[in-house]
Every structure is written in C-alpha cells, then in structure tokens.
C-alpha cells in the first residue's frame, strides 16, 4: 500500500461532522445554498451493488451513481456546526454532529502555522457556573410581609455617573430650611440596571445594530424602561448621533479610537447628550487582546463609519501613552468629561483580573470625582473575534471579582461612589434576570449583556462549540456579517420585537425576585438574601451555606 499522509486533515479530525441520509434527501440543494461557510457540496458517489433479478440466483454487479451531500474538508475552513443546513432541510436528511474526539487543536496549528480564531466565548466549560449554585434564600415569611410583584410598585434603577460622598455634597441650608446645591458637580444618571453591552457596528451587521437601537428606543419611549445601549468601539452612524435617540446610547472609546473623528465632528450638531461615555480598556472574553475586526468584515459602510481603509482592524491591547491608573484618570477621564462639559458620565470598562480590586480601590480615591462607573467584564463574556488561545485560556470569572470590588469599597466606606457594573456570561443560560439579581445582591449596581442579545436575535451558536464563527463575516443568521446578501437573513423588526419582549419578561422576573425578599428598590449588596449549597462558594463570597 502506498504511503498515506496521516498529517492531512480529514473528516474524522473535524470538530463537526455532517451526517447526510441520502435515502431521505430530495436533492433540493437548499442546504448547500444555506451554508455560508461552503462546508458542504453536492456530489455523487460511486456505488457497486450485487443484485439478482432472475428466479434462480444469478448475481450481477451493477455500478450506481448516488447523489449525496458531501462535507468539504479544508485546512482552515470547515463546518462550524451552525445547523443552518438542518434548519432548511424539510426531510431531516442532514445535520452536523459534534465530534468529541476531534483533533483540530493539533491539526489546525500544524497545518496553518497560525493561531485559530473564532467569535463567541469560552467553550471549555471546565467549571459549573457559580451563579447556578446560588439561590435567593431569604424569603419574607411572617417576619415581614413579602411584596406582590404584580400589585406593588418597584423601582429598578441604577446610578450611572460619579456618586459623591455625602459629606462632600455641596449642600447648604437656606433661610427656609431647605437644602440647596451651591456648586456644580458631575452628573449622576439613573438608568435601568441592565445595559445592552458594547457590540460595535462592524462586529454586528448594521441591520442588527439597527434592530437593537430600535428595541432600546421602543423600550424607553413606549414602556418607560430606561435601558441604555453601548455603542462598542466602532463609531456611531451619523444619523443617530444627530438624533434625539443619542440619549439612549453610551458611546465607547477604545484604544483604536475607531469612529471618533466623526463623533467629535458631529458634536456641535448633537441635539441631546449621549447617555454616557465608556472608555474600554479590556474585554473579559479575551483580556490582553485588543479589538479584532478581520478585513472580511470591513465592508465599505464600515470603512466609512470608522474612518478606515479595508484591512484587518486591530485595536491595540492597551491605550498607547497611558502608563498608570492616575494618568488615565487625568488624561482620558478629564478630557472626556471636559468634552461634554461634565454633563455626561464617563465610565471605564476593564477585563476582570486578579488586579481589579487594586484598580477599583485606586479609582475610588480619584481626587477629581470624575470616574462615573466601573464596568467589570468576566471570562465568560462574548467577543466578535479573538484568538482561541485567549478565549479559552485567559480571563477571570466575574462573580468573586465583582464581590471583591464591592467589599473593597465597603472597607473604604466608599460603596456606591463609583457604580459597579458586571458582565461576563450573565444570561448565558437565558435567565438574565436571575443572574442580574444575584450579582446585584453581591454588590453590583447593575449588569451589562451582549452575547445574549445575539441569541435573542436568532444566533445559531452556543457555548458548546456550535458555530461561533462571528469572526468570519459569514454569520449564517445575518447577525455578525457585513455581507449585504447575508445581512438580509435578519428580519430587523422581528429581532427588535424579540429584544423588546425579552426585556419585558426580564422586567417582570426582576420584580418576581424582589417581591419575596420584601424589597421595592434594588437590593444592592444585600448578600444576606442569597444562600448556596456549595461551601466553597459560600466561603468565598461570604454568603450563607445551606444544605
């Protein structure tokens, strides 16, 4: 037998294997048309059959050409398991099957001399989710009346902006015995405790971005749920900058400064202030990595919004020219605050890290009182594109880190002064209200969520390796692509409606959690409301261990 090249990638090495039942196949070709990755093709196989048609056995060999759907195997681009083919097949003739014994970690690197990239989030799942081990255990039962989620009024509001220590409030008593403010101080706004978190136009298709903006405006204007959305680092469409809806948008600035030219040039034309500014230092899903938008996604409209040529867009992993926390506060925060004349809260987003507490402690001592929010993003957060090595092996879980930051503030007697917002896998199981509520009890003022929005809008991916091809520009659901034809797969109105629906449900669920503990305003830091059967979690977070 001739030498067989076993180093070559073949079907058994792949993460996803296509199972096709030709006996059910109607040969319609829909699956091949639906697959944006070119991972399957129509083909024929030669089949030899021995048949006997006479009365007495008289075997004959016949050759048949059988049409099949065949998996395409290449060095670098293969089936991602999105299941789009299965979705469009009316006969159930085709589906991707996860191959637990795949060898792609070795083969991809050995064949391509590069680090694999993908979107999505960590797929390792080596530990169970901490939040799932926590229950709301302090229920008002006769000691105090529990509230009724449907009848009582609840206030679901979180501060965004610097909160002054009470003794520093410039208040004085006037002649009528009323307090008056005698000096201007930076703005604090009250917004919904969930922010739709920073996914850029570029990472998302403009159609999805539009759907999210519509949903946010609708939730605000029709349902009076003061939810805000963060732009991500990728600029903002000019029409939005100059519209009144800018007030629902937190504009992000990151190390690439993409789109800022246009934002700054449009400032004189703004009819309202944006909801806030978020300076992004890092991202929980890929700490240490900067932003990454592969050139495949840098379509003409993205080039225009961001003000860049077509190429891979890499935000540096750090802000060049900033070397310390103090310097960041002085340079970035001051200039951003000054740009909007201290009317717009300026916040910061960092990847959760073992150093988060020191950073937060330091910011709390900020002498200018201008840091308006600390956004902490944990390892299980999502990303549009990252190196797999960063996604799977760097980062810090969010729960204990958030708790540590809160307790550090308590220790300083400064809790609440720089609002704490947490993210990173919140809503991963679809129940954002429960995750948000538990994080709030542990000390968060609010949470932010991104990846969940994609799920609501029809993402086919999951946290077990399905799809996660957001980096490729070939999103089969039209969500994370800039390809004009693929984008059309997304129905904007339907996606917007689903997002609105999801938040209406979440709003009720938050109240359903506040009612039994007897609270009508958010129980920030009320960890006495939480219990866990896991002793380690109890000890680490300082909540009651129960069994």
């Amino acid at each position: 037998m001739a030498a067989v090249d076993t180093t070559k990638i073949d079907k058994q090495d792949l993460v996803w294997q296509i199972e096709h039942k030709s006996e059910n196949c109607a040969l319609c070709g829909k699956c091949v048309a639906a697959c944006t990755f070119g991972a399957i093709k129509a083909d024929v196989i030669r089949k030899r059959e021995i048949i006997s048609t006479d009365l007495t056995p008289n075997p004959k060999s016949v050759e048949k050409a059988i049409p099949v759907i065949k998996q395409v195997v290449t060095k670098s681009k293969n089936c991602v398991g999105c299941g789009m083919c299965a979705k469009v097949c009316e006969n159930g003739a085709i589906k991707p099957v996860y191959n637990e014994r795949h060898r792609m970690n070795v083969k991809y690197r050995a064949n391509n001399a590069e680090s694999p990239k993908r979107g999505g989030r960590t797929n390792l799942h080596t530990e169970g989710r901490t939040l799932d081990k926590i229950k709301v255990g302090r229920i008002s039962q006769m000691t105090d009346p529990s509230l009724d989620a449907m009848r009582h009024t609840f206030e679901l509001l979180a501060p965004f902006g610097r909160v002054m220590p009470p003794e520093n409030l410039p208040l004085e008593v006037d002649s009528t015995g009323n307090l008056q403010l005698n000096k201007k101080i930076p703005t604090t706004r009250w917004i919904y405790p969930i922010i739709i978190g920073d996914m850029s136009i570029g990472a998302l298709s403009p159609r999805l971005w539009e759907a999210v903006s519509i949903a946010v405006a609708y939730l605000n204007e029709v349902y009076h749920i003061p939810i805000r959305m963060c732009s991500g680092e990728g600029g903002v469409p000019e029409k939005l900058i100059r519209s009144k809806y800018i007030k629902y948008l937190i504009i992000q600035i990151a190390s690439g400064h993409f789109g800022w030219n246009r934002i700054i040039n449009s400032m004189p034309y703004m009819v309202d202030d944006p909801a806030g500014i978020m300076i992004k230092i890092g991202q929980g899903a890929k700490p240490g990595d900067g932003g990454l938008l592969l050139s495949k996604k840098v379509a003409p409209h993205i080039q225009e919004i961001r003000g860049v040529p077509k190429s891979d867009l890499l935000s540096p992993p750090n802000h060049q020219g900033l070397y310390s926390i103090e310097e960041s506060v002085q340079k970035m925060f001051l200039s951003m605050n000054a740009a909007f004349k201290f009317r717009v809260p300026v916040s910061i987003k960092v990847a959760a890290s073992t150093t988060s507490v020191s950073v937060y402690n330091n910011l709390l001592r900020d002498p200018y009182d201008i840091v308006g929010g600390f956004f902490l993003d944990g390892i299980a957060g999502g990303t549009g594109a990252a190196h797999e090595i960063s996604l799977d092996h760097t980062g810090h879980p969010i729960v204990s880190r958030l708790r540590d930051c809160y307790l550090a503030a308590v220790h300083q007697g400064k809790q609440g002064q720089i609002p704490l917002w947490a993210a990173g896998g919140l809503g991963m199981k679809g129940t954002l209200a429960a995750d948000a509520f538990k994080m709030i009890c542990l000390g968060a003022n609010g949470v932010f969520t991104g990846r969940l929005i994609l799920q609501i809008a029809g993402c086919l991916g999951d946290d077990y390796g399905r799809c996660n091809a957001c980096n490729t520009g070939l999103c089969p659901a039209g969500l994370t692509t800039q390809n004009p034809i693929l984008m059309k797969r997304l129905d904007i109105d339907k996606a917007a409606q689903n997002i609105v629906n999801y938040f209406l449900a979440t709003d009720i669920e938050l109240k359903k959690l506040m009612a039994p503990i007897g609270n009508s305003s958010l129980p920030v830091g009320r960890s006495d409301a939480l219990v866990t059967v896991d002793k380690n979690v109890a000890e680490r977070l300082g909540i009651q261990h129960v069994c």
């Binding site: 008002s140 000691t143 105090d144 009346p145 509230l147 009582h152 009024t153 206030e155 509001l157 501060p159 909160v163 002054m164 220590p165 009470p166 003794e167 409030l169 208040l171 008593v173 015995g177 009323n178 307090l179 008056q180 403010l181 101080i185 604090t188 009250w190 308590v410 300083q412 007697g413 809790q415 609440g416 503990i517 007897g518 609270n519 009508s520 305003s521 129980p523 920030v524 830091g525 009320r526 960890s527 006495d528």
Partner: protein, 369 residues
C-alpha cells in the same frame, strides 16, 4: 413585631404611664423584654439637667471597673439614685442584674471652659470606653451617659419588670416629660440587653418595629461613618445611626431624614423643584435607604418627637393627643388606655410619605415628603 410607644407631655409624668400604654398591646409582644428612655427629666433629677447621667446595669465588679474609669478621666459623682427594688415577690419573670446604677457626674475640671461639642465628644468616648471594659469582662451594660437622659432595659415580662422596679405606682420623684418605650418581640437575635430599643446616641433616641430588610447595606455603610455606630445587635440601630448622621453630622434639617430613608420614587422626584438636591441625596445615601416594613419613632436633642413609616406603610402606628399629652404607639388600644377621654377624631394615622412631628409646645405638624 415589637410594640413601641412614646409619650410626650407638658407636665412631668411617671413611667407607670408607659406600662399602661403597653398593657393592652400585650398580644403583640412575647414578654421577652421591656425598655424605656426618659428625657427632659424632672423630680429628683431636675437640678442636674446639664450634667451627664449614667444609666448602667452591672455586677459589683462591673461597677468598680466603671467607677475606676470615670474617676481616671476626672468625672466626680454628684448624685446617685437606685430604684426601689422589689426582691421579695416570688415568681417574677425577669432575669435582673445585681445593680442598677443611675448616677449624675460633674465634668472633669479640665472641661470647665470646654465647648458643648468638646463635652459631647467626651461623653461619647467615655461611654464607649465603659462599654468596652464591661463587655470584655462580661460584667454589665452601659445604656447611656448623657445629660437629662435616663435609660433602663431589662429582659423579661414587662409587667414583672414593672413590679420588680416598683414602676406600677406613680410618684413625683421619678418623672420626665418624654418617655419612649418598647415591649419586645424577639425574633432574629439572642436576647441581649443591647438589642432592646430604644437606642440612644448623643441626644438622639430611636425605636422601631419590623425588620430592617436593608440591614446589611445600612450596617456596611454605617460602620465606617462614626465611632459611635457600633453594636448593631438589632437591625433597628441602623435607623438611629442614620438619624444621627443626617441631622447631627451632615447637619441637614430633620425632614431630610425622611428623604434619606425612604426616597421618593424617581418619577415623582424629577417633577419636583428640589429634584437636584433629592437626586443627589438618593445617590449619595442609597446605602441608608430602608425598604420596610418599619415604623420609626424618634426624639432629637431639642426634644422634638416624631414618627415616620416605610414607603409602603407596612407597620401600624397611631398618634393621639389631648391638650396636655401626645401619645404615639403601635395600636390605638394603647392610647385608649392612657388618654381615654381624648377626642379620637384628632387621632392621626400617619401615611407612608409623611413625618408627624411634635414640638415642645405639643404642636403637631404633618410634614409631607
């Protein structure tokens, strides 16, 4: 739920009135304790209104420890009073301490020209020192060390406590113009004397009923704010510390206490003229918010008595009056005992957004938030 009450009169009265006030509310407490604070003292204490009065329950050893400390600081005893204790009656449900000490002191000589603030600091520091020393040896409890204030807290059946201390029969010696009182319903905590209301700090008295569901938040914020914010044996101590912080430390008028503990809903706040101030208060003091269910009765250093409730009014309270006396208590039956002939049409059932305030002329104001 504990039963709480306050009586303020323009004439001196004896604590027997408080036992009357509480008697008919008995189903609401579990005989686990009885405590009261007398302010604006008359009778035997009237000559000493400006001098610190120590209220303490302790062992013999505890008494020696306390006296040593007081002497070392330079306080000299001027007057001492001991209640006439009924040790003969058997079967009383009470676990008394060996000594009940009520002593008036002269300030140390060094403080002759000291300011009011300096003296007040000294009193707080001394009380904390005494408390620590007694606690370390487990030899007793110090309730208050302040001018014109007397406090007693005891574990047991209120009626029996009354009998033990001879409080059922009024006299003219042991009287004051304001008394706040509580009969305990013990729920969350071990029965410790310090956990019994009313709580007192620097002229401020507070008593409350119901759970403080934001206890953890309140406590975490308060424990760093002031040296006197200690103990936290009861979740209601937080209400006192907030009152003290807002009115004494921040020097905000009393009405802002209500804005701190039960901020208006945002939607309403932003329609108001003073929204800038209210929003700042809501943000900066969000950790002092309470979220019910509570009724809070308080007395400020100038003798103002007030009552207010959580923002949903989840605990009852009623205010009744005649021309000599105002009574605030959990249930109207209590007032019926003390002021049977009053005009019940003037009774006030405070709503969730008001503070009912009684001034020293017994004028009643209803402050709407």
């Amino acid at each position: 739920m504990c039963r709480i009450g306050a009586i303020k009169s323009n004439e001196y009265f004896h604590p027997s009135k408080t036992l009357e006030l509480m008697r008919s509310q008995q189903k609401g407490h579990d005989n686990s304790g009885f405590a009261f604070v007398m302010q604006d003292l008359g009778g035997i204490f009237e000559p000493y209104k400006d001098l610190p009065l120590l209220s303490m329950a302790c062992t013999d050893k505890g008494m020696r420890t306390a006296e040593d400390i007081l002497h070392s600081i330079g306080f000299t005893r001027l007057y001492q009073w001991t209640p006439d204790i009924n040790k003969t009656k058997e079967g009383l449900q009470i676990s008394p301490m060996p000594n009940y000490v009520f002593e008036v002191f002269n300030y140390p000589k060094l403080y002759k020209y000291a300011t009011k603030e300096e003296k007040e600091e000294l009193l707080v520091d001394t009380r904390l020192k005494l408390r620590k020393a007694l606690e370390e040896e487990d030899e007793g409890y110090i309730y208050s060390f302040w001018h014109d204030v007397l406090m007693l807290k005891e574990i047991g059946n209120p009626k029996d406590i009354g009998t033990y201390f001879g409080l059922h029969t009024p006299n003219k010696d042991f009287v004051s113009k304001i008394i706040t009182v509580q009969c305990r319903q013990n729920t969350n905590y071990d029965i410790v004397r310090y956990a019994a209301h009313p709580f007192f700090l620097q002229g401020y008295t507070v008593l409350a009923n119901g759970e403080n569901t934001f206890y953890e938040k309140n406590k975490n914020f308060q424990k760093n704010l002031h040296k006197g914010y200690i103990g936290f044996e009861s979740d209601s101590q937080c209400f006192l510390y907030t009152l003290h912080y807002v009115n004494k430390i921040l020097k905000w008028p009393l009405k802002y206490y209500k804005h701190v503990i039960t901020p208006l809903e945002y939607e309403e706040m932003i329609t108001r003229e003073d929204k800038e101030v209210l929003l700042r208060i809501k943000a900066s003091l969000s950790h002092l918010e309470i979220n019910g269910p509570n009724t809070i009765i308080g007395v400020t250093p100038d003798g103002t008595l007030f009552v207010t409730c959580d923002s949903k009014k989840l605990r009852p309270v009623v205010v009744g009056r005649d021309n000599k006396t105002v009574v605030i208590t959990s249930e109207v039956t209590g007032i019926n005992e003390v002021l049977p002939k009053r005009n019940t049409e003037t009774d006030i059932y405070p709503n969730e957004r008001e503070m009912v305030v009684v001034d020293n002329n017994l004028g009643i104001q209803r402050w709407q938030q």
